[in-house]
Assembly symmetry: C2
Homo-oligomer: 394 residues x 2
C-alpha cells in the first residue's frame, strides 16, 4: 500500500529523538531546571546580530518578487560569487561561482551528492563514529554503506582499515571534521595521509574515489586548532557545507555543495549534482536566506560560549576520572563509558537526570556523546550530578 | 564515475528554461521593453504586505534560537494546528495537526509523497497536459509514469481513457487543479465522476488508488469559480500544497503534505511520509517561513492583477481568431496553435518578440502556454505583436 522501507524510517525515530522525548516528559515531572539534557546538537547561542539586521534590511529594500522569487536552481549568482570570493580569500583557493550549488542545508547537500554520484553496485565508506543519517542517505541513494571503525584510542581514521575496505566498488569516502559525535578534528598530517592513500587506490583501480567532506562544523574549533581545507589536499573532493551551526540557523536550511574544477569531469559532475537536486524536488535553496548568508560570510555566532562549556566539561570529566576524545571542535564531548555497555551507563546517568547519547547509534561502541551547546549555567548545575555518577564507578 | 541519469537531468534543462535563456540574450539585443516574455510561471505581484510585516515582527520578538532553530521534522505544532484550523473553517473539514507534514514547497511535497507510496512495480497516472517535472519526480521515486491525455476539446479528464489506463499496478493518479499549463479547473461534477471511477477501480483490484492532489494554484481562481476540496470527495486523497503562488513566495520553499484520517492506513502512511522526507534529506521546512505562513493563512497576493491580465489576453486572443482552453484559474492561458506544430508556431511568434511555451513539453501537442503573471502594461504593449502574428494565419 506504501513503502515499507520509508514507513520503517518514519516509525523508528533515532535514539537521539527518543531521548529528546524522554527529556520532555521528565521535565514535566521534575522541572526544566533539574534536567541536564546533553542530548541535542541544536545551537544554543543566538545567530549573530547581523543575521536579523540583514533580514530586516533586505525586506525593507529589495522588491518582494525579487527577494522571495525563484533563484536559479543552482542558487543566486551574486551569492555564489560571494561564497567563492570568501573561500578564496580565507583559504587561498581559486573557486568561481560555477563551482557552487546552493542547497537546503547539509542533509540536502549529502543526499544530492550521493544521488549524483551513484552508479549500480557503488559502495561508500563511512568512518565511525558517524552522524547516523549518513547510513540512511547512502542507502536511499542506492549506495552500500561500508562502515570503517576509527582508531579506538585517538578516534582518528584507521588508515589500514580504510585501505582494506576500499574495493573496485568504492565510489566515495565521507569525512566529517570537526566530527559529530566525537569533536575530533583531522589535522594536516592526517588529511595528507588519507589523500595519499586514496590517490594510491585511485591508481590501483583506475577510477576516481571521491571524498565527500561534510563540514557543518568547519568554523567551530577552539584554541589554535585549524581545519585543513580538503580541496587543497585532494582533487576529487566534494564539499557539503551548511550554515546551520556556524550562524545558528539550523531551522532555515541553507548550505551548499562545492565541486572544485580539480575534481574528475568536474563540469559533468556538477551537472549531475544539478540533476539530482532537480529529481529529489529541491527547486532552489530558500531565497531570503541565500541573500542573508551572502552578507554574513565569515561571521559566526559567539562560539566562545561553546569553548567555555567545553573547557568546563572536560575539566570536570577528567577530574572525576572519565576520559574523553580530543575535543578540538564541533560542540560535542565524546566521553568513554566507564562500563563496556554505553547504553547501560546512560541509564545510570539518567538516575541523576543526566541525559547523554550512547555511542552505539554512531556506529562506535563504548562512548557517550555529550552535546555542550547548552547554557554554561546548566553545566555548572550539573556538576554535582556528574560527581554522583562518577562515584558509581571510580 | 557518476550517475548518467542525473547528469542527463542536469544537462538538459527544460524547454521553459531554454526560452528563459533566449529571453535574456534577446533582451540584450532589443531591450527589455521590446520583449514580450510569457514563458515563466513566476508570480509577478508582490507578496501581501503582511508577509514582510510578519517577518520583521518575528525577528524583533522571537528569540533567535527559537525562530531559526530546528522545528520537528513534521513541522512546528502551532503552525500545523493553524493550518488545520484554517482549512476546517474554510472547507468544513475536520483535520488535526497530525494530518500535516510541512515541506520545502510543492516539488518536495510531491517527491516525498511519491517516495512514501512507492512499491516495486508501481505505476502513477499523470493527466496531460501536465507540469513536466511530474515525470521526473515519478521516475526518480521508482514509479512508472502512465500519461493519459485529457479531452482534446475541454481539456478536462478523459474518464474512459483513465479507466483504460488503470491496472493492478496503479498506485496513484496525480491531479492538478487549477492546472498548469491549461488554467482549467476541475468542477464538482468532474471531481465526483473521477472519485466514483476510482472507487470502482479500488474495489475491482482490492487495493487503494490514491489521488495526489497538487494544489499550488488552489486560491488562484477568477469570477465565481470554486475549486472543490478533494478530500471531501475521495478518501484516499493526499494533498500537496505550496504557498509559492498564493503568497508570491516561490523562492522561499514552503508548503505541506496533508494525509487525511480517511486515507487507507492513514497513520502508517503518514509515517511513510516522514520516512521519505528523512531519507531524501528534508530535515524540516524553513523555520522562519513556517511561522510566517501561520500568520498569513487565507491571505493572497493581489490576484486581481492576474484576473485583469487574463481578461485582456483572452479578449485579444479571441478577437484575433485564436481559441483557448477555459481559463478559470492559475495564471496560464492555454491557446490552441493555429498550425499543427506548436513549436513552429512559437518560432513564428518569436519574430514578433512574443515568447510562448509549446505544449509538447506538457505532454499535450497543439497548444502554447501563455503565462500571464506579467505586468498588464506588457500585455498592452504586446497586442500589436499578437495582431501581426494572427495575420500570418487568419
Amino acid at each position: 500500500m506504501f513503502s515499507k522501507e520509508m514507513y520503517e524510517l518514519g516509525a523508528h525515530s533515532s535514539v537521539i529523538r527518543e531521548i529528546f522525548e524522554y527529556a520532555k516528559k521528565r521535565t514535566e515531572v521534575v522541572g526544566k531546571e533539574n534536567i541536564f539534557d546533553f542530548s541535542i546538537g541544536n545551537p544554543s547561542v543566538p545567530a549573530p546580530e547581523i543575521v536579523n539586521e540583514t533580514i530586516k534590511k533586505l525586506v525593507d529594500t529589495v522588491p518582494s518578487t525579487e527577494l522571495h522569487g525563484y533563484t536559479s536552481a543552482v542558487g543566486d549568482n551574486s551569492v555564489r560569487e560571494a561564497i567563492a570570493g570568501y573561500l578564496n580569500k580565507t583559504y587561498g583557493t581559486s573557486f568561481r561561482k560555477e563551482n557552487f550549488y546552493m542547497t537546503v542545508g547539509a542533509a540536502a547537500s549529502l543526499t544530492i551528492t550521493l544521488t549524483a554520484l551513484h552508479e549500480e553496485g557503488d559502495e561508500v565508506i563511512i568512518l565511525a563514529p558517524f552522524f547516523p543519517e549518513y547510513r540512511v542517505f547512502a542507502e536511499k541513494a542506492g549506495m552500500k554503506p561500508v562502515i570503517v571503525l576509527s582508531d579506538e584510542k585517538t578516534l582518528l581514521p584507521d588508515f589500514a582499515a580504510i585501505e582494506n575496505a576500499i574495493t573496485e566498488h568504492t565510489k566515495a569516502v565521507i569525512i566529517n571534521s570537526p566530527n559529530n559525535p566525537s569533536g575530533v578534528v583531522l589535522d594536516e598530517e592526517c588529511v595528507k595521509t588519507l589523500s595519499a592513500l586514496l590517490e594510491k587506490k585511485q591508481k590501483e583501480f583506475g577510477k576516481p574515489i571521491f571524498i565527500i567532506s561534510d563540514e557543518p562544523y568547519r568554523e567551530l574549533v577552539y584554541g589554535n586548532v585549524k581545519v585543513p581545507f580538503m580541496t587543497k589536499y585532494y582533487d576529487n573532493t566534494i564539499v557539503c557545507y551548511s550554515f546551520s551551526k556556524s550562524l545558528s540557523l539550523p531551522g532555515e536550511r541553507i548550505g551548499y555543495i562545492l565541486v572544485p574544477d580539480e575534481a574528475a569531469s568536474s563540469g559533468e559532475l556538477f551537472k549531475a549534482v544539478c540533476g539530482a537536486g532537480r529529481a529529489l524536488g529541491y527547486v532552489c535553496a530558500p531565497a531570503l536566506f541565500q541573500f542573508v548568508i551572502k552578507e554574513c560570510l565569515g561571521k559566526t555566532s559567539d562560539i566562545s560560549v561553546y569553548e567555555k562549556n567545553r573547557d568546563l566539561l572536560i575539566k570536570t570529566a577528567e577530574r572525576l576520572g572519565f576520559s574523553c576524545a580530543k575535543p578540538d571542535g564541533a560542540f560535542y564531548l565524546f566521553m568513554k563509558s566507564p562500563e563496556k555497555d554505553a547504553a547501560a551507563f546512560c541509564e545510570k546517568a539518567k538516575k541523576y537526570e543526566l541525559l547523554f547519547v550512547p555511542s552505539d547509534s554512531f556506529g562506535f561502541p563504548g562512548y557517550v556523546r555529550i552535546a555542550y551547546c547548552v547554557s554554561t549555567e546548566m553545566i555548572e548545575k550539573a556538576i554535582p550530578a556528574f560527581e554522583k555518577l562518577a562515584k558509581e564507578y571510580f
